[in-house]
Each structure stands twice: as structure tokens, then as C-alpha cells.
Amino acid sequence: MTDYFDNAPCCYFSFNDSGALLFVNQTLCTVLGYNREELTGKKVETIFSIPAKIFYQTHFFPLLKMHGHAEEIFIFLQAKNGSQLPLLMNAGQGENDGVPGYACVGIIVQNRKQFEDELVNAKNLAERALSENTGLKKAQEELKSQTEALDVQMQLVNNQNNKLKQFNKVATHDLQEPLRKIIFLANLLKDAPGGDLTQQENLTKLFKEASVMSDTLSGLQQYVWLYETPITPETVSCLEIIQKVKKQLAGELGEDKLEITTAKLPVIKADHRQFHLLFYELLYNAVLYKKAGEKAVVGISATVIKKNTFKAVEGRYEYQDVIKIVIKDEGIGFDPQYENMVFELFKKLHHSRRKGVGLALCKLVVENHNGLIEADSMPNNGTSISILLPGDMLVR
């Protein structure tokens, strides 16, 4: 009986949880060219080809362990002399003298393999013929480039629409309101019966409104300038710009207001003036919205990550390098529901004398460089501004 089994026309082997061979029958030893002693206790992977080893670890063993059995598994065995033998096998969980293990029974399927190879080849050929159909392929490529162009166009249109809307709002409301008051006050001044005190008060109000208008207008001018002037790319060190901006802010707002730590800041191809403005506005905000009585603590770091290059077209993906610069402060923060709103022109979440143009300018600078800007904030927990720029801007 044992002899029948040992020399049966099938390959039998069993192994335990840690993959050690418990038993191999003579037929298996013969086809592989091993002595039984050379295999018993060795890793079951000893008799597998390299792809079969990966398949065993990623599919076969998990399947056996979780499912208890596996049927019609096809792998290549590797004989002692290195030759490969196609094996079709069934495997199941079992026990021998109380030791749990797995038993496998397989047959070498040299002929069937040729048959299957032909089948798989025919299937692959059919698939390839389909996908390589030249006309189809050409159409695919055209579609791809058109989709990319469309994506750029759609983004452009979206951006322009937003800018137009913002411009409209400013022109109809923010500019007209102070103007209306100025006209009203001017009328009062004109008709006043010579009371000096009232005239003085009215004049003060007039000047206040006029200065708001002038601030608004200058913000608008900067915005229009950024919008209209084409960028001039040159080699720009983010670290150098930040150091210059820090000095500038110390002069304008006072020393000891701002502490900056930087890590791995890149050198990029970008418009120097615009990036100076970008970091100026961001760091100005950090000082403006710091916690009372504390200095603004800002961390600026950069990494290169991979992002989908398609921004407006849905369902298309192409992952490419993107430079991500994060400017994180520990200031008063804001409610996350306003995360998108803060980049709109003349949107102010906090009462201050600032024009409410800063982050809108930042967004424009980043968009001028085909990038994205995002804010992430929590009240009392600081704000983190992420700038994503195309990887090809990276110099080092």
C-alpha cells in the first residue's frame, strides 16, 4: 500500500504552517531529481520556481490558510538541475499525528500546459489585436491629447469665470458703497449752514471712506496686474525669498513678531516678483492672525509627491511629480467651512484694517504657475496653507 502511494503516478507533498516539508513521495523526488532526505524538513519553496514562490506567498498560502483548501492551482516546480516542470495541484488542510499541515497532490501537465499556453496566447493575441488596432490606437491618442487640452481649457474657463464674478462684485458693491457715501457726505458738506464742528466731523468721515476706497482700489490694481502680466520664469530659491520677506516684515511690523523654521525648501523656476508677493502675503497673514500676546510661529517645509495631473476632467488619472510647499502657523485659525472662501477676493473672516486681498493674490500667483493652493484650518489651532506646483518647476 505504502509502496503504491510512494510510487503512485502523482506528486504528493505536505508541509506545516511555517512552510517546512513534512513528507514527499518518491514520484515527486524522482521528477525533481532529489533524494527524500534532501527535501524533508526543507522549505516547501525549495521545489518552486521564483514566480511560484511569489504566488505561494501572495495567493496560495493565504488561500489555504483562510479557506482550508485550494483547487486546480497551477505553478512551476523547479527541479534540482534548474529545469521547470508545470504542475496542476489540489491542496487541503489536514492533520498527521496531531500536527496540523497541508497536503498537496499534483500532476505534471507538460502537454496540457502547451494546450493552455496556446489558449492563453490566442486570448492575448485577440486582446492585443483589439487594443493595437492602429486606427483605434490613433483615435485613443488623439482623444487623450484632446482630453488633456480640454482639461487645461476647462480649468482656464473656471478660473476666469471666478475672477470675473469677483471683479463684478467689487465693481458693483465694494467700490460703489464707499462712493455712494462720499457723494452723500459731499452733499451734506455743501449744504451745511456753516457749522464748523459738523463740517469737521463730516470731513473726517469723508477721508476715512476715501482711504478705504483707495485701499480697495490698490488691491484691485495689484490683482489686475497679476492677472494681466505674463510670468517671467527664473531660478528662484524659496529660502532666500522667505529670508528677504522676513526682513521686510520686521521693518514694517516690528522685530520679534515672526519666528520661521524651514525644512527642505526647493529652488524652482518661477516668477521672482510674484513669489516674493506670495510669501509676503502669507507671512503677513501669519503675523496678522497670530494669537494675542504671542509671536507668530511659522513652519515652512516642502516635499515632492505624486498627484493626478487632471484637475477638472473626471475619471482620468495620470500621476506626476508635484512640489508641495506647506506653510503652517500656530495662529488663531478659522472655521474649516471657510477653507475655500478665504481665497476669494475681498473676503475677510476677521475684522481688521487689511484690504482682504492677500490670499486672493496668493491664489492668482499660484494659478499663474499652473498650481493649486489649499487652506486647512481649525479655530485656535493654526492654519496650514498647501501650495502644489508642477514637478517640472523643480531645479533642485
Binding site: E45, I50, I54, M66, Y317
Partner: protein, 268 residues
């Protein structure tokens, strides 16, 4: 967003703790492979299990060949789940390729993660000059071929899944057993995304701490790879396991649990 992601990735969460532990399966499997590990953490953590889009019982209709031809697409799944469930301070446990998917997710949104526990990780499977990844390119081509052959045998029990089981309820019980079954086209692409990936350059950008659980005699992630990771990952801890093979959470769950608990400072 919440319900779409939860059904797309077949997300399950349970456990009595607050801090989330997000378990991510490797190539070739699904969330079932964590069944020997999660009971040990249920009392102290909130356990989150999921299947990557295209794997296990995820929504195959959401699979996008372009998106998932890169590990970044899978990292997006992880970030989507964190966002949908509003997870913070996440302990990410990733087996095999999921370790690098976790690294990509944590580089992109480092604020969301507390640490990464890597089981059998590798940043690059293919040998490259002095780097030992363990494989040559033709080995991976051989694997793709082996997988292709096995899907001939598995076609029968894959069929109900492709057809959808709503109108075929008799397949229900069979489906729950169809562990590790994946659409062959998707499996083929996941294999390519996995074994042809090279994330060595990303390692230095990981800012959170990590644990590398390195198996003894693991052909897929050999010891040299574990040592390479430990050298290049800032704040990493390397533990060599007694467990052999590539799936210690299946073959030696107790050792796996003990090492994770030890790292997290939870009493065993």
C-alpha cells in the same frame, strides 16, 4: 462622500477604543486576512478594515484602470477613507505593498497619521545595481503568467462575482468563501503596480514614526530590504520576526500581535 467610500471600499469599523487602527491588506488578498490579529486590539482601539477598490468585496464598478495603475491611486483610497470617517491620529497597519501605500498617504497628509506599522514591507522589489530587491524583472513577468494560468482554474468561482449576486442569491454563501478572489484583469494590474513600484525616493519624506516587522526567510521582502528601509526611514524601528514567509499575521499571529502591542505600548 461617506456612504460612497464606505460601500466602494467595503469599510467596516468596530472596537471599543478611540484611536483608529486602519488595517490595509496586501496584494492578492482582502480584509479577511486580518481576522487573527484584530481581536487582540478591539478593546483598546477603533478597528477599521477595508478592501482596496477592485479587491475583495469592494465595488468593482468604481475601479479605474488609470487611477490604480499607480500606488498613488491606492493611497487615495486610504485618504478617502480617513476623510469619510473623519479619522485622525491613525495607526496605519499595512501588509506587504500596503506599507508603501501607507507611506505615500502619510507623506501627503502627515497630520492624519500617528504611526505606520509595516508587515513585510519593500520599497522596491526589483534588484537595481547595488540595491537588493530580491527579484529580476523576468521573475515578475513569470508571476503575471502564473496568475494568468490560475485564473483559468478559478474562472468558475469568479463568475458569480462578475455577474453580480443580486439576482442569483444562491451564490451568496459561495461569495463569502471566495477569499482572495479578484477580477483577473484587476489582479494583473495590481500585481504590476505592486512589483514594478519603486518608492525608495519617498522614504526620507516620511515624518511620522514607523515599525518594520521583518520576517525571517521572506522571499518577497528579504532581510536586506528590511535593513534598507530601516536605514532610510527616519524614526523607524526594525524588528526581525521568528515567523518565516511573507504572511506572519496568518502563520504566526501571536508573535505579530505581541510585537505590535510592544511598539504601541499596549499591555499584551
Amino acid at each position: 462622500m461617506h456612504s460612497t467610500v464606505v460601500s466602494r471600499n467595503n469599510v467596516h469599523s468596530f472596537g471599543k477604543g478611540q484611536q483608529p487602527m486602519l488595517f490595509a491588506h496586501g496584494f492578492g488578498c482582502d480584509q479577511n486576512m486580518w481576522r487573527y490579529i484584530t481581536p487582540a486590539f478591539e478593546d483598546d482601539f477603533k478597528i477599521i478594515l477595508f478592501d482596496y477598490t477592485g479587491a475583495g468585496r469592494s465595488d468593482i464598478a468604481s475601479y479605474n484602470a488609470e487611477k490604480y495603475s499607480s500606488l498613488n491611486g491606492y493611497a487615495q483610497d486610504v485618504l478617502d477613507i480617513c476623510k469619510a470617517l473623519q479619522l485622525k491620529d491613525v495607526i496605519f497597519v499595512g501588509h506587504s505593498v500596503s506599507a508603501m501605500i501607507g507611506v505615500l498617504a502619510a507623506i501627503e497628509k502627515s497630520d492624519l497619521f500617528a504611526s505606520i506599522i509595516m508587515i513585510g514591507p519593500s520599497p522596491c522589489y526589483i534588484n537595481d545595481e547595488k540595491y537588493v530587491g530580491g527579484f529580476e524583472r523576468q521573475d515578475i513577468v513569470g508571476l503575471l503568467e502564473t496568475m494568468e494560468k490560475n485564473y483559468i482554474g478559478w474562472a468558475n468561482f469568479l463568475a458569480p462575482k462578475i455577474m453580480g449576486n443580486a439576482e442569483r442569491p444562491e451564490f451568496g454563501s459561495e461569495l463569502t468563501e471566495s477569499f482572495c478572489s479578484t477580477d483577473p484583469v484587476i489582479a494583473h494590474q495590481f500585481a504590476k503596480a505592486t512589483f514594478f513600484s519603486d518608492n525608495r525616493r519617498d522614504l526620507a519624506d516620511l515624518t511620522i514614526s514607523s515599525l518594520i516587522l521583518q520576517c525571517s526567510e521572506d522571499i518577497i521582502a528579504p532581510l536586506e530590504v528590511g535593513e534598507y528601509l530601516h536605514k532610510h526611514l527616519p524614526n523607524s524601528e526594525l524588528r526581525i520576526m521568528k515567523a518565516t514567509g511573507h504572511c506572519p499575521h496568518l502563520s504566526e499571529p501571536q508573535e505579530t500581535i505581541t510585537l505590535i502591542k510592544d511598539y504601541l505600548g499596549v499591555e499584551a
